[in-house]
Amino acid sequence: MLVEKKITKPAPLAGGEARKAFRWLAVLAAFRAWLFLAILLAAFELWARVAYGGTFVFNPLNVKSIALFTVTPLLLALGQTFVIISGGIDLSVGFTMGLSAVVTAHVYNWAAQSGNSGLSLVVAVAAGLGIAVVPGLINGLLIADLRVPPFIGTLGMYGVARGVAFLLAKGTTVPVQGGLMGAIGNGETLGFPNLVLLTIAIILVMHYLLSHTRYGQHIYAIGGNVNAALRAGINVRNATIALYILSALSAGCAGIFYTAKFSAGAAQAGEPVLLDSIAAVVIGGASLFGGSGTIIGTIIGALIVAVIQYGLVFVNVEPFWQFVAVGVVIIISVLVDQIQKGARK
């Protein structure tokens, strides 16, 4: 119990006369992700009203579509948030997701031969999560025990998971036979898409883990100063291994959801999403140098990326501007982060 609760939460706003001039900036910076999201939504709403006399935010299809679209990058980003807070990075999540998607599809098809589709689903989900643990565990061991830098270790695992996923899928997509998987993946409960509800449940677990448990505090401590964490008696090795397993499990969920949504597992499912997910974490306020970041920030970050991409299609902007827009938001986010640090000094 050496580490006091909340001690490692994002730094409180700086006080003191000399820093007063920057104070408003710091406040702004602390809420920059929320601010961005609000400005974006307002801008698209205005654009839609002026240009087309329609609404953007109040169109239920838009809200639902954006929520669904956010699911995959957000799931990759949730685990990534833990890793980035610890000062690491996990580049392998895209293909861990693909591996999980393919295994889930195969196992579901295999188990469905028994005729019990409910049981097949349970077995398939367990297999999808189980296989995800493998790259996560290897990442953790490489980084914690063999001192491989996270960037390199997970880059290697990116290749391995990719190769294995494609081998298992025989280079193609693996269609899921039988309707239960697709019915859940595309179904709704009380008007909310199941995948969104499940994602909210995962968010709650992740949020609890990060901000209400000692493990979460250890992660901040490791990212803040690993030597201090060691001196404080934190088992950095085990915490690090657990981190990468958590990140892989989060990606595994994304893979299972992919298979449920498209009734097919694809090895390349997560590949295009990796950078969007890292962008979400960074826009959400986490520092790539470790020690700061929150789950709520990551959610806002993922929503920002999704709203930009969805909104620009909605207002009918030339597609390539999407890349530019997301890039600009990342740069602004990091700039604000730097200014904030300057204000604190």
Binding site: Y52, N59, I66, G171, T172, G311, V313
Partner: protein, 328 residues
């Protein structure tokens, strides 16, 4: 089914062999090695092409080498090509991943005396042996006519939506010769349908999730959207899932280009209305045959066009149609 195709392939080829001077080369004991470099190794389209090529290789008694990169990208394809060139095969069949960037490395192979045939995609403008430009050296281009494929898709979609309404193309990314041509053919054909409006093309980076979200965004803006043309598998998968989530399956018609095995349940469930199948096995088969013919001293046409099959719910179980579903 696979055995059936092989049998037909063998029978057809035996027929060809029996009737042609190719037999002489066989008798002379020449054992050729033909290398096939796909656009990417992890795609049912190229895997099916490989099977067609294998059937021809077996029938003609040549060795077939299949080597490629796991993604559709010249940066990863060129080293594979260079490695294959270094082993000096009798001929190279390749699906170039870029119209321009593959010209120089292929020229090196050609100048080393290895005949080059492009399959599925092309370099330069796809017109070879014309004596103009620096990319006319390949012997032959064996492929589906993708512009025609786009036109066929447009006609099928126009028919499905009663020849009126708004449609758009869901595409991968610009710069890929085949998907660009499908879009081009689709748009050209749609110009003849005056009551159909073609909206801005959406590029999804081969991400089905993104394609689904784009579909919903376009639909939210255009509630009267009538149809979408998915220019490749993930584009179509995404569009059909977008329709499912927006409860507009059936209302918005989805045409998919390409027909891997995963398209069958989608067609049957009505999520995808029409699939345009290319004949990749045919491309692989005739690619090897063309290479062999050249090696045996025969002249080869600069362009071999292969066919398409339009698949829908009604004919998907017909054995004559089913055999064009790409196998894995």
């Amino acid at each position: 089914m696979k055995r059936w195709i092989n049998t037909v392939a063998v029978v057809v080829t035996l027929g060809l062999v029996a009737l042609s001077p190719i037999k002489l080369a066989l008798a002379a004991g020449n054992k050729y090695t033909i290398a096939l470099i796909p656009g990417l190794t992890t795609d049912p389209f190229y895997i099916t092409m490989h099977k067609g090529a294998q059937a021809a290789a077996q029938a003609l008694g040549v060795d077939l080498v299949f080597q490629g990169a796991p993604e559709f990208n010249p940066v990863t394809q060129v080293p594979v090509l260079n490695a294959v060139t270094a082993r000096h095969p009798s001929a190279i069949l390749i699906a170039p991943t870029d119209k321009v960037q593959l010209v120089a490395p292929l020229k090196t192979a050609s100048e080393a005396g290895i005949p080059v045939i492009t399959v599925d995609t092309f370099i330069g403008n796809g017109h070879y042996q014309t004596g103009t430009g620096d990319a006319d050296f390949p012997l032959c281009y064996v492929a589906s006519d993708n512009v025609l494929g786009g036109e066929i898709a447009a006609r099928a979609l126009a028919k499905a939506i009663g020849d009126k309404g708004k449609v758009y193309v869901s595409n991968v990314k610009p710069g890929i010769s085949t998907t660009d041509q499908r879009e081009q053919g689709f748009k050209e054909e749609m110009k003849k349908h005056s009551s159909i409006t073609v909206l801005e093309t959406q590029f999804n980076d081969d991400d089905a999730n993104k394609a689904a979200s784009q579909f919903q965004s376009v639909l939210a803006r255009n509630p009267d959207l009538a149809g979408v043309f998915g220019a490749n598998l993930f584009s179509a998968m995404g569009a059909s899932n977008g329709a499912k989530q927006a409860h507009s399956t059936g209302k918005v018609k989805v045409v998919a280009f390409d027909a891997p095995a995963s398209i069958v349940p989608e067609l049957k469930a009505g999520n995808v209305d029409i699939a345009i199948a290319q004949h990749p096995a045919e491309i692989g088969y005739f690619g090897v045959v063309a290479a062999y013919a050249h090696l045996a001293g025969q002249s080869v046409p600069p362009l071999i066009g292969t066919g398409f099959t339009v698949i829908d719910k009604g004919n998907v179980d017909d054995p004559n149609v089913k055999r064009f579903i790409y196998s894995d």
